[in-house]
Amino acid sequence: MDQRLAELVEELTTSGEPRLEPGRMKELKKICKSSEEHISHAFHLLVTRLQEEHAEMRFSAFQVVQELFARSHQFRTLLIANFQEFLELTVGIDHEQPLPPPKEVAQKLRKAAIKAVQDWHEKYGEAYKQLSLGYHFLKRNKKVDFQDVHARTVAERRREEERQKRLDNVYKEKVKRTEKEMEEMSQEIADTLTEMENCFQLLMPDPFNFAVNDTELEPNKQMSVVPSSSHVEVDQSCFGYMDDEQPCCSKDILPVSQCVRTDGNKESDEKQEKPEQKELDGGTRSEVLSSDPALDDDDYQTFVRNHGLISHKYTLDLEISTDIKVQENEDNTAIINSVMDAHKLLRNKFWPSVQSWIQLLTRAGVNDDRLRCAIELKNKLETAMKKYKEMNISFKARKRKVMKASDDDDEDEDEDDFVEVPEKEGYEPHIPDHLRKEYGLEPQAAPKAPVGKVSAGPAPLSSRAQPKGNEDELDPTCAAATLKLIRDKLPKLPPPHTSESAAPEAAALEDPDGKRRKLEEERAKAPLMPFGLDLHYWGEDQPSAGKILKFTSEHRFWAPSEVEEEVENKEITEMLKTRYITFAGKFEPVKHKCRAPMPDGSLCERQDRVKCPFHGKIIPRDDSGIPVNAEDRAREEKMRFEKQAAQPEWRDPEFMREVEAATGLDLGSSKNNGKGQKKQGKKKKYPNLTDLKQQANTSRSRLEKKVFNKGAMKRVVKAMNRVDQRKHEKFANQFNYALN
């Protein structure tokens, strides 16, 4: 029966299930019931199970303990005598002896154990002194909170606290840094915001400003404001105007009720309205002209009569579109530019950083002025950005800023910066062909070129000039950019004709469009090449190139017998005309797979280009991995046969394994065929339990095994020592190395 008891305990505790198997449990209880000896035997078995370093095993054992504890006094006495150990193994009160993995099960075990201790204490605490002592010990010393569902022990809580503390410190540091940053930046932000606000004001005066504060503002004054912001769509300013003057209906009604108003007055009003109406483009204005319901009948009558209206029920709906459009023109360019810059600054710099501040402050749980300040800043930024968006500024195509100087009125001032240089007399400017574009000159005609030796073909010239021109235009410091601007401004100017291109163009005069298209196609096709010496001297014959001049010795006596004054060096000449083009080819990913059959039935997945390191040259194979070509098949067959022949018949691995199993001797069958079989041979002891080794088998642990391998360490140390030694030998006589 003892045998059976041991078996039962083992089976119960290695099931790995969260619940005990009721049949076996019943049997166990039956055995335990039969005699006290069995109980103590079971107790010892269970204690050994509880000591296993596997939480699932402990958990199952604990469940069995719980069952028996409720039933047998003998068992209780035994367990309580060893209660401290029991607590260590199930609750994990000893921080040096934590509960074993897997973690979730350990957590569950701890919870269950704590609950059990509490229950037991309630039920048996009075009778078993040590049990109540243990309970109090958990409660008072280990500070186990029996209400705490998470059932964390002090050690755990402390760990948690420490982590929290560390986090807090990090946050504190960050908050401090943020605060500093905020201090530094908020001034900047405020400045930018003010700038933007001012720009907005200039672009489009705020209607409400007028409405609220500027009641005394005369229309004249306002009109003077409007031109200043000139091409701002005026409807906004119109609003201001309207607001200032008060909407006409209210203007009408009140005086009417007082019977002060005259028709003429009204007419003048309408007149006044008209120009406004004209100014309104795009936007419409809503204005509800309706009767005041508060008017009583008499008033109503008078009202109708006074105005010559038939009905009182006219309604006039005017829609005001709120979208504004700001057109850029010469007058407001500067403002728009600064608005744009400010907006860019807001969007790219301040907005993200303010966002990150808020995020950080909320995460750090800062709840005071700093957060409020940050949120305020954010709101301000958002309104500014929104306003900017609402402005709907339609830009002219942005040009180089340097160029714009020429557009602006202050061009003269800019030019004052330059020192006037007197024209050089007799100076005949020669600008090399490839630089002409940069200077804003048309490519020079070949015959007119003063130094130009030979005219280059038109095609290479243009192909070169095109990308170059583009580059130059991108560079604002270059005159070409200016030229482009001018050219863009005058699109109707006939395209400049170069003398080189004149002839072919004349030939193709009939179909200039087709020609141009063709040219464009060619240009698209033409490769973009980096500039080099060869291009520099393209088509030019360098007379001095490749010539090495040797100076004759001017010594009185010593002179070489014969001096060749000039040596022609072919190589250098060549160099000026050659271009090295490396052709590495293009990478083509491998599409095929090795697909050789593997021992486990699958096909090899390797994608080598030519040769698989395991299965040799890659050959076409069918779906089951058999070579398509007959000769390949034959070769593979032969190889297999040879391999079999190399291994004698009696060493057939299957047979060997059987023999080994029968005799219990190791005949080395596992050595023969490598890793696959070794794994098969090793059988897991308890297949139901979670494999702890598997969990521990992470890439890190595998690497650790390799890196911290003793042999490897020794090797590395040796190598390093050798290096040190060598250094020592080399520099032993220098004091600063001698110490190594």
Partner: protein, 400 residues
Amino acid sequence: MRISFAAVFQGKSSKAYVSSVAHGTPLVLSLELNKDRDVERIHESGINTLDIEPVEGRYMLSGESDGVIVLYDLENLTRKPSYTCKALFSVGKSHPDVHKFSVETVQWYPRDTGMFTSSSFDKTLKIWDTNTLQPADIFYFEGTVYSHHMSPVATQHCLIAVGTKSPKVQLCDLKSGSSSHILQGHRQEVLAVSWSPRHEYVLATGSADGRVKLWDVRRASGCLSTLDQHNGEKSKASSEAANTAHNGRVNGLCYTSDGLHLLTIGTDDRMRLWNSSTGENTLVNYGKVCNESWKGLKFAISCGCNPEFAFVPYGSTIAVYTIFTGELITVLRGHYSTVNCCVFQPHFQELYSGSKDSNILAWIPAPREPVLDDISEKSLPQQHLNPAYEDAWSSSDDEG
């Protein structure tokens, strides 16, 4: 005067002795954690030291590692079997004169309960008036105080021996209120001191240098003898190991009640019994006595039993040895953390132990089974049995 006191002690202890002998086996052997006896839980940190006053054996002092001292009444006057020892008063954290750090030793004045002494890691030794709970005197030292002891039998002097961090043993005279003597000889801190219960001028001290020295405090020149674990035989092997009682720190000393033998314990996990008059190692083998304490360890020797037993803290348990054979009788389990001290109450043959888990446990001899002279009485205890002790197997077989 001396005789009269001695007679009092003799009388008390012999009563208990007689009672135990009459039953055939010492009561001590049946010590168990009794559910009827509890000690009030006041402490919040570990108990370092306990002392029961020798006059009545009724009041117990406990010193805690956060400086608190509590006094318990052990006597059960309720006439009920279950009794919780009440804390009569305590020198708590709010007391102006409380020890700042861990209290290492408390001891009653041997003559009466009007006075007690306590020493602490805050480098002081305090003499307390029990009735007013005010310190009557405070001695200051340069190092932390590990242990102090007053002679239980002294009539001619009123000296307190104090072992501190310095290697010199200090003697404080209660009459003059000054540190009168210094005993020089140890090389490291003195962890344990104990006066002989037989000779009032004889003092034993144990130090971290592994030596146990016996002193006659009347002699200024030096110690009487240094106990040698090898009895002088192997001392020639190395001069360094010569004259050491233990290979580790000696952190516990206890005389047998008759003062003829001295028991020492050290961090080499050994316990040794010495003949206190000759200084000879009796070579009793107690086996391994686990001892990891880095400060003084208070263990107790029974009184009035035959043979005598030693109660030694052994991790979180208490090991009970017979002194003269070294046999491990039993292990008392009940604490959940390291046991720091034991104290034996001779009148009722009870043992009290204090541990780091802040529990004081009372180990009471199990009540003897009533003599089975009547059959009707035999079934009686069964009825009285606590229902918690009953088995609860389900009745039907198939339910198991």
